[in-house]
Subunit: 143 residues, 2 copies
DNA sequence: ATAGATGCAAATGTTTTGCAGGAAA
DNA sequence: TTTCCTGCAAAACATTTGCATCTAT
């Protein structure tokens, strides 16, 4: 069984605050762990409902909040007003195609250290950042 | 009279599409050109209404859309769900204090060129980017 | 038995749209 | 006198909250 780490993290998070293991949380976890890349709240609701039609979207929203707090999910938002989630993995930022919506991850340690230096220059204690490049991906350039 | 460039850009934009010069647009322009830094839609509505109580917030939203299209304003959004506007000036990104909301601009050509290189590597034609550093500013660190 | 979870409906907050009346060209 | 603009109310949209009911512990 894969994603043992995520399952254990959730298990511990729930136990620590006396939260319950419910059918709904199990179902949402299953679906979320299958995601590769980024999934919006709405898509997540749809996929969960395909298997468990009774689950309300409110529950999905509330559950994803818990997953984020438990460290199983990271909330991301690009420029279309919807929240997306991804499974945490090594640090990265994103390239977003504004035509097809494709999201590609990139990593650049040079930029990372430049950020630290800049924050320091301005006296900021850096907590997090957001760095997105918007453009047309290769497939969307011909026309 | 300052901001001649902005006024002329708007004038031309309006003329080109046979749009009208109205009292409301004049009023919103006056207020907006006085802004230093970033102003949210809501703050803008308040400031405009302080002088012209009759102006509707719908008009402010619609007018700012026109200003953006005319190149007099740039829309920015940080992580609090509201749209902010700034007067265009040399390219820059932002440091945002998550405690007091202070927004500081920075510029880094090294990051800019790294972005171009990365976009190229992934076959993207870069249109724009978004780069924000979130943290605590100097004044918000003591506690 | 009881703290916690669910799902519906209603509320939220920001921004947009429909429309009838009003103003600029 | 036509075309565009305004302002109100209502809609949109993603997300959150209230609450009565249900369920895991």
């Amino acid at each position: 069984m894969s994603h043992e780490i995520e399952r254990m993290a959730l298990s511990r998070y729930l136990d620590d605050r006396h939260l319950k293991r419910t059918r709904q949380r199990e179902a949402i976890l299953e679906v979320f762990l299958e995601v590769t890349g980024h999934i919006s709240s709405e898509e997540l609701v749809q996929r969960v409902r395909a298997r468990h039609p009774h689950i309300g979207f409110t529950t999905v929203y509330r559950t994803m909040k818990i997953f984020c707090e438990a460290g199983l999910a990271i909330e991301r938002s690009f420029e279309d007003g919807v929240t997306r989630f991804e499974i945490p993995h090594e640090h990265h930022d994103h390239l977003v195609c504004v035509r097809c919506g494709r999201i590609v991850e990139f990593e650049c340690s040079m930029i990372e250290s430049a950020q630290d230096r800049i924050a320091g220059e301005y006296g900021f204690r850096l907590l997090r950042h957001r760095h997105e490049l918007y453009g047309h991906c290769r497939d969307c350039q011909e026309e």
